[in-house]
Every structure is written in C-alpha cells, then in structure tokens.
Amino acid sequence: MELLSHLALGFETALTPLNLFYCFAGVLIGTLIGVLPGLGPAPTVAMLLPLSFGLPPVSAFIMLSGIFYGAQYGGSTTAILINTPGESSSVVTALDGYQMARKGRAGEALAMAAMGSFVAGTIATFIIALLAPPLARAALLFGPAEYFSLMILGIIAAIALAHGSIVKAIAMAILGLLFGLVGTDVTSGVQRYTFGMLDLYDGITIVALAMGLFSIAEVLRNLDDPSEQEVAAAQITGLLAGLARFREALGSILRGTAIGSVLGILPGGGATLSSFASYAIEKKISREPEKFGSGVLQGLAGPESANNAGAQTSFIPMLTLGLPSNPVMALMIGALMIHGIQPGPNVISEQPALFWGLIVSMWIGNAMLVVLNLPLVGLWVRLLTFPYHLLFPTIIVITCIGVFSFSNSMFDVWMLIIFGAAGYCFVKLRCEPAPMLLGFILGPMMEEHLRRALLLSRGNAMVLIERPISAAMLLLAALLLIAPALSIVRRRREEIFAEES
C-alpha cells in the first residue's frame, strides 16, 4: 500500500517533538487569537505569518495550518457564546449555537461543536490523503494554457460564490492582479510600476498587503461600528451533556462533513457556502424545521462540521494545483513561495515530507483542539471579555512589528498603512478585499502561464479554447458568471437569512 507508506512518512514527520510542538503552538495561538471577537482566520493567519518565516518549511506549514483551523475553531466559540461571528462561515454557527447558549446550554453547544469539528476534520484529512495525490498527477498533464484557464476559473469561482456585487468583485480581482505585477518583470527585467523605488523592485510584500487589507481595515471597520461594545459571556455548563447527545447529532455531523468536503474542494467554495448548505439541508430533513433558529442541536452540529470539513479540504486545490480557494489559502501560497517552494502539482512529489507531514499534523491538530478546548473553555470565555478598546491597539502594534520585522524594512510598514486605509475605503464602498488578495497572488503566475501558452501556440490566443480541458474550465467559469443556478444559490442564502432575522 502506497498510501500507508506515505502516511508512515507523514507520522514520522509530524511526530517529531519539534513539529508536535509547532502544531500545538499553532493550534493554541490560533484558538487564542481566533476567539477574540472580530478576528477571523484570515487576519489571524496574516498577523502570525511572520512568526513562521524563521522556521524550517515543514514546521512553518504545520504551525500555519494549526493557526488556521485553530482560528476557525475559536471563531465558532465566539459565535456560540457572544453571537459575534468572526467570519462569514461562523454566521450559521451563531444561529442555533447562540440560542443554545442563551438557554443555558452553552457547554452542550461547545462540546457538540468540538466533536463535530473533530469528526469532520478526521474524515476530511483522509479525503485529502486519498484525493490529493491523484489530482496532482492529473494536474501534471496540464500545460500552460490549462493553468491559465484554471486560474481564471479559480478567481471567477471565488467571486461568484462570494457575496456582494459580482462586477465589483471582478474589478477587485483585476486590481489585485495588477498589484501582483508590481516589481521587476522576470522575463525582460523591465521595472513595472516601481516609480524607481528600490523597495518595490521585488514587488509589493504580501504580508503588508494582506495585513493592510484584512487586519488594519478590519480594525478601522470595527471602530466605525457604533455597536462597539464590551461583551458579557454566558455561563458554561453541561459540557458532558453535550458529549452524551453526540449520537443524536451524528447524522447531522456526517452529512455536514460530506457537504463540506465536496464544497471545500471547489475553488471558491470553501467554508462559508458549505455551512449555509448544511444548515439548509438539516432544516429540510428535520421533523421539526420550525424549531431551527431557537437552539436546535442539529442546526449547530451540521454546519459546524461542514465548515470545518470545507476549511480542511480547501487545502486540496492549494496543495495540488497551487490554486488558492480563499484568502487564507492565498496566504499559504505566499508562505510557500517565501520558503522557496513553487506551489503546484510538484509539491507532493518534491516535498513528500512537507505534504504528508502536513496532512498527518492536521489530524493530530484536530485531536489537540478537542483536548485543548473542552477543558480550557473557561479560559477562552475570559478572553472573550477582553475589551475591544484594549485589543485593537494591541493588534495595531503586533501588526506593525510583524510587517517591519518580516523584511526589516519600514517601507513595508508604509505600504501597510496605505493598504489598510485603502482596504477600509473598499469595505465602505462594499467591495470585498478577498478577490484582490487572490488576484495579487495569482497575477504573476497567470502572466507567466499566458506567456508560455502563447509562445507554444505561436501567438494563437485561440489555444485557450482549442484545448479541451482549458476550454471546459473557461466554459465553467462563464457558466458560473451567468448561470441562473447562481441566483438560486443567492436566493437560498437570502432566504436563510430572512427566515432567521
């Protein structure tokens, strides 16, 4: 069994004391920061990215992934206890989770979220282990034309499934692509958009851009919100009762896991859509759908599992195709490149220890999360009461220091300020910053693939639609943009919201 020997390599890598430590540290720090109200996974990972640069690549990735699913998990805790979802995928968790907490069943809700996440994480980890290698092998057959189209598909999918105006999201993605081109052109050596500034010759630093768009803009947005309030946490009782009711929710957990795993693989699908889809399905098959929204166990367990499974399987396109399906994966790709690893189908064959170690560490990390969270929940509750007016200056200081120390350059801090202000303006104009980050990561790669594709086809742009796989991907992208199915998805989501509000 090839898989077994691979998993053995994975365990060997992930179980070294050093990597176990980084896995634990990642999960702990991720939960710690993710629990803080108003901090979702993307700003958490962006803020902690610089911490990982001094580490060997494997440890760095194990830690970053730990931070990611730790933050994801911490976000659910926040959503359940104080109804402040740190990111869109926790919105659904808050629907029934917060109602349970209000009825004094906070412990039960937390225990269920932990168990659901663990089951989902375990299954999704196996799905990655089974699916990623064949997918990567298939991707090796891709030529530059296929890659170019795949990236278009990735961007379009991410746009189509996000909320808000599609045209604005497209404009943001294009803007990101353009910002990605800043710096020295690799082929010709021409300086593009550098204005003669030496600091821009290597391009805009991803850390400055990501932290500006996510961490700083987020702080500014929160300050703007008149409801900037201190929170009172609910009392936690009944953790064990939650564990006892595990059997009742098992069906929802497994259904949620299945939905999340499938949607997570799709570029742009990811955690948010899967939690919405799972909630809708649980409600549909429930015998008492009218009770949803008033604290139903299934309405919490399903979406919570789905969002965790989706978060986990979104690693598949990132690891096999080099295609980020959400801002966190875009940051991961940035981190890969900073460590000198070219993202794409070669990662699995060239860096087997990294790939399999990462997968095994995900499973270990999920187990750690359960162990960490159930007993420590009292500590997280106290963190929730940390007032925002002291939290955000801390975020500002850590972000500035992180960006500065990343390349020991104050120039990047100035860039951070610019992108922070710009990101805030974009949010005010209802333009989501996520497509811009995806574009920024993909810009240089898309240009290179397009250049090669055109060179190979002797300058014939039709190559993009003459090669069947490439044509299929472009067709799919076009369908995503125009399909009526999209409006159904949209209506579906609005329905869910309308019913709950």
Binding site: V167, A171, V190, L220, L223, I401, L429, E447
Partner: protein, 150 residues
C-alpha cells in the same frame, strides 16, 4: 453623516481612475506581440478590463445606488496616525519611546478610551514586545533609537 454621491458610482469612478493610471504607465513597458508577450502586454489588457469593469459599475449605479456616508474620520485618523508614528519614529527614537505613543494614540480612537487602562496597556505592550520580539525572537527592534544614541 452627509451624502454626496452613490457608493457604486464612486467605486466605479475609482476603478476607472486606477485603470487609467495603470494603463498610462503600462503603455511604456513595451506591449510585445501575441507570440512574445512584452512586459506591457498583461498590464495593458488588465488595465483595460479594469476600466471596463469600472464603467459597468458606474453605469449600473444610475439604476440603483445608495448614498455614500462619510464615516467619523477621527478614529481612522488616530489609528493611521499611530501607525505613521510607528513607521516614522521607530528607528530614530527606538521602541521605548515610540511604542507608548503608538498605543496611546491608537487607543484614543475608541469611545471607551480611559487614561488609566490605556497607560497600563502602553507600558505592558512596550515591555512585552521588547521581551517577546527582541529578546526571545531576536527581531531587530532597537529599544533606544539612533537619534538619541542607541
């Protein structure tokens, strides 16, 4: 809170403006040909698309739009100001003098600002970042800056 323009129209105009700037600069890079894409090829196409997208957004805004509300600029100015202080004075003055100012200025952006907790936070963060970032992680955060003999 004063409305002067629709948010979609403003967004569209910003995209058009950015597109024009990127296009104008990109035209100098050398477009090349379909066979050999020059360094200007991709930027020019993208800028063109950005302008088109901006136009679409602006045109659509005539159908339905919501007015821009100018947010309170105080908090934003203070937070960005704090970061500017960090960028400008961290190296010349060092972290012991700069960080407390950064923290206090940022903290004052909140309505819940009180001097006592903010001063404690400023002292705590300055100390902690010195311990964690400089001593434990070995980052180049000089406690005393170059202007004052550090």
């Amino acid at each position: 809170m004063h409305a002067f323009m629709g948010i979609d129209r403003l967004a569209g105009l910003i995209f058009i403006l950015l597109g024009v700037i990127f296009l104008w600069l990109g035209l100098d890079f050398g477009f090349g040909s379909m066979l050999r894409m020059g360094p200007g090829f991709f930027p020019v196409i993208l800028s063109g698309l950005l302008i088109v997208a901006g136009l679409v957004i602006s045109v659509k805004s005539f159908a339905a739009d919501e007015p821009v509300t100018i947010p309170r600029h105080g908090p934003m100015a203070r937070v960005l100001g704090a970061m500017i202080v960090f960028a400008a004075f961290m190296q010349p003055l060092g972290s012991y003098l700069t960080l407390p100012v950064v923290v206090l200025l940022a903290a004052s952006a909140s309505r819940a600002f009180r001097w006592r907790p903010a001063l404690l936070l400023a002292a705590g963060l300055t100390l902690c970042s010195d311990l964690i970032f400089r001593l434990a992680l070995g980052l180049p955060l000089h406690p005393i800056g170059t202007w004052i003999g550090g």
